[in-house]
Symmetry: D2
């Protein structure tokens, strides 16, 4: 399933070393003047410090005339200019530890071994473009994510971290009871980002060791629906309560190590190689804009 | 959206103090002899230590003849025998802190104020029945959840905790790339359980402070696809790798406190009341079977 | 798939000789006072002249307090009081010609042989209840269906016919381009009714032999968007144009003949039997209310 | 909704005079060697006799390496080489009779007035490519459509007709009871084709005037599940019975007349113009390949 959303549906495509990555956005309102500069800015946040420096130019194939949306599907393509498939020849018969090489091969019986193929974080280009448009439509709701903490910075190693995201000016009443709780929808949205490994809302895991009387967010004396604390992260019974929605996402370190690595071969041996591709030791600084994109795509679908 | 799943679709209904709670299960295979005793056992785990002691008898309305499924929708109802709506009259115009009272009223302009209505954990009866059937179909895959730790045990207060769930004997290749990653699907499934507030896969939030070389699960020397460690929790690139899938869910304490509580009134005052309903101070021991149910419903849909 | 709709989702259940038939309606707006008398009236239209005379009493299991909807799922059950399973014992190993006996057995490897089971038109009880609620919500849009013509009336035989349905006061702009054309959605809705075998919009099949200049609906001189003729049936490019939407549905005769019938046995013989069940020779008069129900369920989902 | 299907999902995009039309196909099996020549052949059937003669070259953006599918989304683009937007300047403020100009403008408040934009049959290019791949996967099932009859052939006018489609070698057991009847799914699929106005299965509308004893398909004496006649069109109770599935689709004449036409202006006048675009008087001969495509997309999703 390469589609996200029900009302504002984003269907992405593309392998990291194929011709292009991109998406079709279906359900974008008509008459919207798209801020292309905001999209470029978000794309540059996504490639910040990345070893693969290429300009991510978005080609719009449909759905826009004179910069204004028609209400029909927005299709776009971002070409993969800088692909060097040759870098990856050694990996054709090897499964790197920690990667999706083995699981893709098991699931599909075939894979694009060049740079991770569909499993590469290159795929998030399409999310960022779509998320940037969603953020424009959602205004005055503000979605901001930043790196809260990172792992140790070591030479010859990679680092993960935790990103915190806050959603301000979201009205009360967004989200659904039962299976479509807003927290569940946000969790699914951001846990689909490559290398995400944990999600928590409000005080999150700390809530497990708090007494109930300590945890409960008391009504503010203004009696206008605001609360003194925001332990719950702005969501009660799956529905936003008008306080800021706050959540955190844990990312594990990039698993492409700048070291010799022991791979499993398809002939059932262990082989040590050094990957000649480009490395990305501290990807955590590139994830906030992706977290924002997924939060925006989540919200624009949750708001009826 | 009160439906979970695409292939094995569970649509639940019911308020805690209405006539019944239940569900329609659509997509259950034909010819299955349902183990009703296993369902009863799981329902008793769900009501373990609950203050509202009633026998949760399942009435099957369709889809079964002589205990065998027809492939048509399984509809069932569990009557709410022990409802005491009178207990809740004081709450008609009040919004309890920490509850969904306020958010439901904002979203719908109306709510069933009796015992939480649709927001009550009574709704999970339907999930447990459906999950119990899913677990039967999934065998030999084993899904087991248990309480890993709880909050402080205090008189006159409530307690949360962390539940750990492991899925054994799951084949490699389950889950989807991009938006339908198995971890994202599991996160959405269990974060939809009332009072769930955090989710982590494998080492989870600890991964954020590990070096990449420490985090990466190395291939076992057997070269059969197993790994020495299981930091990733059995999922790589969104797809199961054949190792046990392990995740944890944090639950906040029950927000119905056995103490005087300060409510917001619909006339914008703060009013202190003592709730005469039945309390459930340590619900954490009732959640593992619900976690198992949601994991089972997630898996049965993810396995193609 | 026993669910119809995306916003106003109806999931039905029940076999004709099981305990009950019914549905869950998810997505019904909150605060709606349901007109129960209108539902009873539509149910009586559905059972008009039917040989199986039983009162179809609707038991509401959830979603309603004091006759007003809560915005939560509406679950209901209609008991099958008058079932006589014994009538059908002879059919356990036989497949009647023209029925779904053979196709169900092939698909599921099992079937409820009593009175058609899930394939019985008894299932349409749930559609009529849901459709009746949809019609209430859709007002002032008016949906009216009637029998346009019937087959020959012969003693000891059954009859089909054509039902015409018109939708008045539907605003322009309803329906989607491409796959979700309003005509396509209506076609799917009504072709799902038991014994429906043809659908046409506006002049329908006659359009195939008209010249283009004759077919095109010319603008009325009032220049307000109305047209002089309505050959297209009120839909252009898949979207309503403000004129009445008009369509017709062909129904084949009931295939349960009041005559000796030659059945296929599961041991590959042909056996002649006389079915002792209750017969329904002229069901065409019971179909308009079902056509209205499906048109209403279609529209309430198509109107955003 | 520009997506068709659940398992084999086709999401199309593109306006007739924009940069390109195309689609993303999600759910295509991995390891399939695509027959590109078959796609070219089907595209040439679609453009047979069309006034806009351009080579429909398919650019594959993702999902294929060395002509073999990866199991990831197949994205493709077909450029609109021959667009002459200038031809349509006169239509900017006019709504042609019989077209989707008025309904699009009402629905979206904006439209691409050039050659019909999204409402143009140019959009069917994407369906034909996807359908061609589906037909390859469905083999040995054979889907063949042909023109059964056409309207009068007049100079200076346009013509519609009826297309018949047969599906051979389809196993029994395909299709769903209740809302997902195979006939309903086929009806929705083909009624979504531009200018489709009627659908019938088997004997279709003629069934309305047959006696039941005449209509019922009797078992063949071979007692192998085949029937002597095939009035029902190969579907009983919504499920295929192993006989050929046969249906017909009525198409109205193209509404772009090669004559002066009276348009409604957005200032509420009637204005007579002569459209200088390219005309397509007898499009009926181009529709069979589109009917086949939609039948194939329907089947590949219906077969579990």
């Amino acid at each position: 399933m390469n589609t996200y959303g029900s009302r504002f549906r984003v269907t992405t495509y593309g392998e990291s070393h194929g011709l292009a990555v991109g998406a079709i956005i279906d359900g974008c309102p008509a008459g919207l003047q798209i801020d292309m500069e905001a999209i470029r800015h978000d794309l540059s946040r996504r490639s910040y410090g990345a070893p693969r420096q290429e300009e991510d130019a978005v080609e719009w194939l449909s759905g826009i005339v004179d910069g204004v949306t028609l209400g029909t599907p927005l299709a776009f393509a971002v070409r993969n200019h800088n692909a060097k498939p040759g870098d990856y020849d050694a990996l054709r018969h090897l499964f790197r530890p920690g990667h999706a090489d083995y699981t893709y091969q098991t699931k599909y019986g075939i894979r694009d071994h060049r740079g991770g193929g569909r499993a590469s974080a290159r795929e998030t280009v399409a999310r960022v473009v779509a998320g940037s448009i969603a953020k424009q439509i959602l205004k005055p709701i503000e979605i901001n994510a930043c790196v809260l903490r990172t792992g140790p910075e070591l030479s010859n190693d990679t680092t993960g971290g935790v990103v915190e995201c806050s959603i301000e000016h979201l009205q009360a009443g967004v989200g659904d009871p039962v299976f479509g709780k807003l927290g569940a929808q946000l969790a699914a949205a951001v846990m689909s980002i490559p290398s995400a490994i944990g999600f928590e809302l409000g005080v999150g895991f700390d809530a497990a060791t708090m007494a109930g009387s300590e945890y409960v967010d008391q009504w503010d004396s203004s009696a206008d629906g605001t609360t003194v604390t925001n332990h719950c992260g702005g969501i009660q019974g799956g529905i936003s309560n008008g306080m800021p929605v706050v959540f955190r996402v844990a990312f594990h370190p990039v698993v492409t190590l700048p070291q010799p690595i022991d791979c499993l071969s398809d002939t059932h041996n262990i082989e040590t190689i050094v990957v000649n591709g480009r490395h990305d030791n501290r990807h955590i600084y590139r994830t906030p804009v992706i977290v924002e994109a997924m939060a925006a795509l989540c919200l624009i679908n949750a708001i009826s």
